[in-house]
């Protein structure tokens, strides 16, 4: 456990300049909220320190609740979580993107393993990953309709046959 605490401490020191919030949800986890503009710098800092490896990128849809009458409607958001692991320590970089600004730069130039995860994120959540050089689908069918992102909460299946989709 001592090495885990040490690893988390080292990561915190590296990431502090980019953080808008830092917390420890579990003893082995450090979560750092960062602004999308700081993503590349933060990942670069971890990689330069040889701090662990990128283990996963997680998308998390957070549609806004309908506002009460008279209140302004908050905007729906997607959280993108970059999970880095070193031994038992897990560091999460959390980025919150509004639906209208769902754009992030690719980190695959710094962490090549990110490519497949970013591809999946783009396909499942409709987050645009700038600089990701792959096109087409990774796991969805070739005739999957454009603009339908299955892991967004608003997607609840195809009740109506999809126009133009083969076999529909």
């Amino acid at each position: 456990m001592a090495s885990t605490i040490g690893a988390l401490g080292a990561a915190e020191a590296v990431l502090k300049p980019f953080a808008t919030a830092i917390n420890r949800p579990q003893p082995e986890r450090l979560e750092v909220n960062i602004h999308p503009d700081n993503l590349l710098a933060a990942v670069r800092a971890l990689v330069d320190e040889s701090w662990g490896y990128l283990s996963a990128i997680v998308g998390l849809d957070r549609p806004a609740q309908l506002a009460a009458e008279g209140m302004s409607q908050p905007e729906s958001a997607i959280d993108v979580l970059y999970l880095f692991c070193s031994g038992a320590a897990v560091v999460t970089l959390r980025i919150t993107l509004s639906y209208s600004q769902a754009v992030i730069p690719t980190i695959s130039g710094i962490a090549p393993t990110a490519m497949l995860y970013e591809w999946e994120l783009r396909e499942m959540f409709g987050v645009e990953v700038v600089g990701l050089r792959v096109t087409g689908h990774l796991i969805l069918a070739d005739d999957w309709p454009a603009g339908v992102y299955p892991l967004r909460k608003s997607f609840t299946g195809f009740n109506q046959p999809v126009a133009g989709a083969e076999g529909a």
């Binding site: 885990t4 949800p25 579990q26 082995e28 986890r29 490896y53 990128l54 283990s55 996963a56 997680v58 998308g59 998390l60 849809d61 979580l81 999970l83 692991c85 031994g87 038992a88 897990v90 999460t92 090549p112 393993t113 490519m115 497949l116 995860y117 792959v134 096109t135 087409g136 689908h137 990774l138 796991i139 969805l140 069918a141 299955p150 892991l151 909460k153 997607f155 195809f158 046959p161 083969e166 076999g167 529909a168």
Partner: protein
């Protein structure tokens, strides 16, 4: 991924001779030599992550088990560990020891399955038939413990369903003795058979640096000298009480991947014996609330193919907000695409099977054509009625 249009492209798959599971590869070649490669996944994508959001915490346990037919237990274990973490529940040590025991039996069956598949791809069908015949022993042990050969369904949220009685322990010991002897023979075969060595040595060699750069994990990485194993790096269940050694090899080639997996099988046999002899006493289950407190948890386990990561978010209700599964096969694809370059086309089947790819691991959704008149598409009601009639 896009291919270089100026090259001669050989498409392989989704149905193809190398693997019994679907993926599409494009190898572009110059004569016999591969100069580039791309992969297209998703042929068995079943939408399980989406499906999880519509099911209760308990129902999801059964869904997660069905992500993979080879490593069903380890998926359920990663899921339960995450949910238990969110619920703040402490599982009895005996239950955790039984989970570890099942996980290691599963590793033996998975590695022996792989040995057979890889031998088959190398044109060595005798080894394939031997290893699959002997693998029945470990499948039978799993069946004796759980009642099932494939989906043992040992986990519950908060514990396990089955106990290990002294009679069962004796049977497992007996089975392990046989498996150990057989695997010694396999180790001898893969390290001495000239033809086999010719197909594996110095093929698909990956240096330690390259393995780390490409993000390889599991036995594929360990065969390149990357000493990374979640069982040791971040012990879960009772892996601190019954530790395992990380098995590595320095050759980094296909041959090394055979040796590492066979050594891991020995290590699993050793640790199972230790668990059987020193299993903690106590309950098998503890109570887990129906609603899981809001929060997010990450759980990581070492599946037979490498690190398996679950990210679970709860909104405090009876159903999860999000279950993200990052499976090990996905991480190892980039190694294949990179290592293929410069090898002969004929080496591709063995290179592909060398990472022990698992497509249900990767994909997790299936595509159904929704033709109303199609007799091949049955409604749930119709299927259920058919089942009832059939067994009447």
């Amino acid at each position: 991924m896009t291919a270089d249009t100026n090259k001669f492209v050989i498409p392989i798959g989704p149905q193809h001779p190398a693997l019994k599971e679907p993926a599409n590869f494009e190898f572009w070649v110059d004569g016999e030599i591969v100069t580039g490669a791309s992969v297209r996944l998703g042929y068995v994508h079943r939408g399980i992550e989406k499906g999880a959001e519509a099911r209760t915490w308990t129902q999801n346990l059964y869904l997660m088990e069905r992500i993979c037919g080879i490593c069903s237990h380890v998926h359920a274990t990663a899921y339960t560990l995450g949910v238990e973490k969110l619920a703040g529940v402490e599982v009895p040590p005996r239950a955790n020891a039984i989970r570890q025991l099942m996980a290691e039996l599963e590793r033996i069956h998975s590695h022996m399955l792989w040995l057979g598949v890889a031998a088959h791809e190398g044109g060595f069908d005798t080894l394939f038939m031997y290893s699959w015949r002997d693998r029945e022993t470990v499948m039978d042990l799993l069946e004796k413990i759980s009642g099932n050969k494939v989906h043992y369904s040992a986990n519950l949220l908060g514990g396990v369903k089955f106990d290990i009685t002294p009679e069962l322990a004796a049977e497992v010991h007996k089975g392990l003795d046989f498996l150990e002897e057989r695997n010694r023979f396999y180790l001898k075969v893969v390290t001495t058979d000239e033809t086999f060595i010719g197909r594996t040595r110095d093929i698909g060699t990956m240096t330690t640096e390259k393995a780390e750069f490409l993000g390889a994990i599991g036995p594929t990485a360990r065969a390149s000298g990357v000493a990374r194993d979640i069982r040791v790096d971040a012990p879960y269940l009772t892996y601190d009480q019954f530790p395992v050694k990380v098995m590595t090899h320095t050759s980094g080639d296909l041959h090394g991947r055979f040796i590492v997996r066979i050594h891991e099988t020995f290590e699993s046999i050793r640790v199972i014996r230790e668990i059987l002899d020193h299993i903690p006493q106590g309950d098998l289950t503890t109570r887990v609330p129906r609603r899981i407190p809001a929060g997010e948890a990450v759980s990581r386990v070492e599946a037979p193919r490498g690190e398996l990561l679950y990210f679970i978010a709860s909104n405090g209700s009876e159903k999860p907000e999000r279950v993200k599964v990052r499976t090990p096969s996905l991480c190892n694809w980039s190694t294949v695409l990179s290592l293929a370059i410069g090898l002969k086309l004929a080496d591709m089947p063995m290179l592909l099977s060398g990472i022990d790819p698992c497509f249900s691991c990767n994909d997790r959704s299936i595509r159904l054509k929704r033709g109303q008149q199609d007799p091949q598409v049955w409604s749930w009601e119709k299927l259920r009625q058919y089942g009832i009639e059939y067994y009447r």
